[in-house]
């Protein structure tokens, strides 16, 4: 080992003993603050809107990564958390006049609880069967909501303008929602990192590598899987609540859009499943790509085709995604960029 490498290893060893000295969480805080404050300072609504969308994607991808990248379970229907969280939050605000943050958090907790319930059932299934069952959960919830009158049935819920009143009017409310969504994104990355650095995370990774071997080693697989599934539901649900509040309307087809769900999977794989920064980078890159495609008229129909082709190429040739590739080429990045 070169002298530099040895010195680096000693530095890493010393810092690793104190979690809070590790650079990654600070990096996340800095980036989150930057994303939050830049459009605010510049009063740039267009920048805000595109960053908001990026934050939503990053939130979805990061939390999905807990299932796909850590535990190795492909959650095709992950969008159900987002949609259901949106519905619960909007309903609480519209009918019960709860304040935004409380409603969003309540939605998050409620969806996590529901996820735990569903999870106990479907997590017994392996591989494709689990994947298909998650689609089933999404479709079932969508069908239920579309027929549920208190939530507006097939037409959905339109938020009246007074909902924004308590936050200082629509203009102010949109900025508040934005800041909260950026916060949720930051929390998602920190959650992802905290889990990966914990014993729980190690158990999940073991399950993802070889579930049967992990069980023999003593990892309590049913409990861990259920916890991961439930945890992966919380922040996307909160994000859903905030996002649909900002949109002012929520209806079944848009809330439970399966293709959005699938794009989240592509984002995770693109950036690197199992890493912490991977899904975030993948989400960002994919959003840029998507933006480019939508502009070029000829390609807009091919959106899913290109996403599919991209996913295929990644799975066949670079299954570790972008971060996987970077970590292999430059092992030092493993520690700095997780």
């Amino acid at each position: 080992m070169s002298r530099l490498a040895a010195a680096h290893a000693r530095f890493v060893e010393r810092v690793n003993r104190r979690s809070l000295w590790r650079p990654f969480p600070w990096l996340v805080l800095i980036v989150t603050a930057a994303i939050a404050l830049t459009p605010l300072r510049l009063d740039d609504v267009q920048l805000r809107e595109s960053l908001l969308l990026a934050c939503v994607y990053i939130t979805l991808a990061s939390n999905l990564n807990l299932m796909i990248g850590y535990a190795g379970y492909v959650n095709f229907g992950n969008i159900v958390f987002f949609g259901l969280g949106g519905y619960i939050c909007i309903y609480l605000i519209d009918s019960w006049h709860w304040p935004l943050l409380v409603a969003a958090l309540a939605a998050g907790l409620a969806v996590s609880a529901v996820a735990l319930l569903f999870g106990l059932g479907i997590l017994r299934l392996r591989g494709a069967f689990f994947a298909l069952a998650t689609i089933g959960v999404n479709e079932a919830v969508k069908a239920f909501v579309a027929n549920f009158e208190p939530w507006g049935g097939a037409t959905g819920i339109y938020l009246s303008l007074d909902a924004y009143g308590s936050l200082g009017g629509p203009m102010q409310a949109l900025w508040t929602a934005y800041l909260l969504i950026v916060g949720v994104m930051g929390l998602s990355l920190l959650l992802s990192w905290a889990i990966k650095s914990s014993k729980f995370g190690l158990g999940l990774l073991a399950i993802g590598q070889n579930e049967d071997a992990a069980a023999v080693l003593g990892v309590p697989t049913p409990r861990y899987k259920a916890l991961a599934y439930s945890a992966s539901a919380f922040l996307p649900a909160v994000a859903g609540g905030l996002y649909f509040f900002k949109s002012g309307i929520i209806e079944p087809t848009g809330a439970f859009d399966l293709s959005f769900s699938i794009e989240a999977i592509v984002m995770v794989m693109l950036g690197g499943a199992g890493t912490v920064t991977g899904p975030a980078i993948g989400a960002f890159l994919y959003e840029e790509l998507r933006g480019l495609l939508l502009v070029a008229e000829t390609f807009s129909h091919f959106q899913l085709v290109i996403a599919g082709a991209l996913l295929l190429l990644i799975v066949l040739f670079v299954p570790g995604g972008l971060m996987g590739f970077i970590h292999r080429k430059w092992p030092y990045t493993r520690w700095w960029l997780e």
Binding site: K199, L205, A206, D212, A213, A215, V216, L217, G218, V219
Partner: protein
């Protein structure tokens, strides 16, 4: 005195075939019990029944006084029972160190991550893998993977270790090292239930031997007794070399 492990009349059927029938034996604290028998005798099935991969159709399995019959593998591990598989199951995407840490974290002591890491380091060096701690498990040699399989099981600090053909596929030097390691494990106070086909090794390692044939117990006793048992010789008939090896080992 209560045995460490007591297997009491267990039977297991797959489809129409009884893989194990009415098998009973005990493993005492700190001993090495060898399990031998011709191929298809049901040895690996016995391991699967003990550590919870399958539940026996009949019979009981009692470990340290607790009935663990039919418990899922992760609960059995929590009682202090660890297993090294015949077909190695490394967590290929994780490093050697991480593999061992997993073993250490989820054993009976339910260690924290930091304590587990220390145990992992110690066991890795005991087993001879400290020079390869950061290597991805999938990239080890066969001997390395076998060593890792063993290390991971040891990291759980078990009372009883199930070793399933740990010598298979090793060259003579590696075999000697592995035999030596197994002895040193016993010296640390871990009881061992070992399946092996390398007769010389298992005869010299074991305190006692149980011979299995078509799912039933054929003989039980010291290596010497078993090697001279006519029923055992008949079961291995046609493999005179094996018998000769056995006699040399005992």
């Amino acid at each position: 005195m209560n045995a460490l492990l007591e297997v009491d009349g267990i039977s297991k059927r797959f489809g129409g075939l009884w893989a194990v029938q009415d098998l009973a034996f005990r493993v005492e604290d700190g001993e090495i019990l060898g399990l031998i028998g011709p191929n298809g005798a049901g040895k690996s099935t016995v391991f699967n029944l003990i550590n919870g991969v399958h539940a026996p159709d009949k019979g009981r399995i009692v470990f340290q006084g607790t009935d663990i019959t039919g418990e899922p593998p992760y609960r059995v591990a929590r009682h202090g029972l660890a297993r090294a598989h015949q077909i190695v199951q490394p967590l290929t995407g994780l490093s050697v160190f991480e593999n061992c840490t997993v073993g250490a974290c989820f054993g009976q002591d339910n260690l924290s991550l930091t304590s587990a890491r220390e145990v992992a380091r110690e066991v890795a060096s005991f087993v001879g893998l400290s020079d390869r701690l950061d290597v991805l498990a999938g990239q080890l040699t066969t001997a390395g993977k076998k060593r890792l399989e063993l290390a991971r099981a040891l990291c759980a600090r078990p009372k009883l270790l199930l070793l399933d053909e740990v010598l298979a596929g090793l060259n003579p030097t590696e075999t000697e090292r592995m035999i030596d390691t197994v002895r040193r494990i016993r010296e640390r106070g871990v009881a061992i239930l070992i399946i092996e086909h390398v007769m010389r090794a298992i005869m010299s390692l074991s305190d006692r031997i149980v011979v299995l044939s078509t799912g039933k117990k054929l003989a039980e006793g010291s290596p010497h007794e078993v090697a001279n048992d006519p029923a055992v010789i008949t079961a291995y008939l046609g493999d005179a070399q094996l018998i000769a090896e056995a006699e040399r080992g005992a």
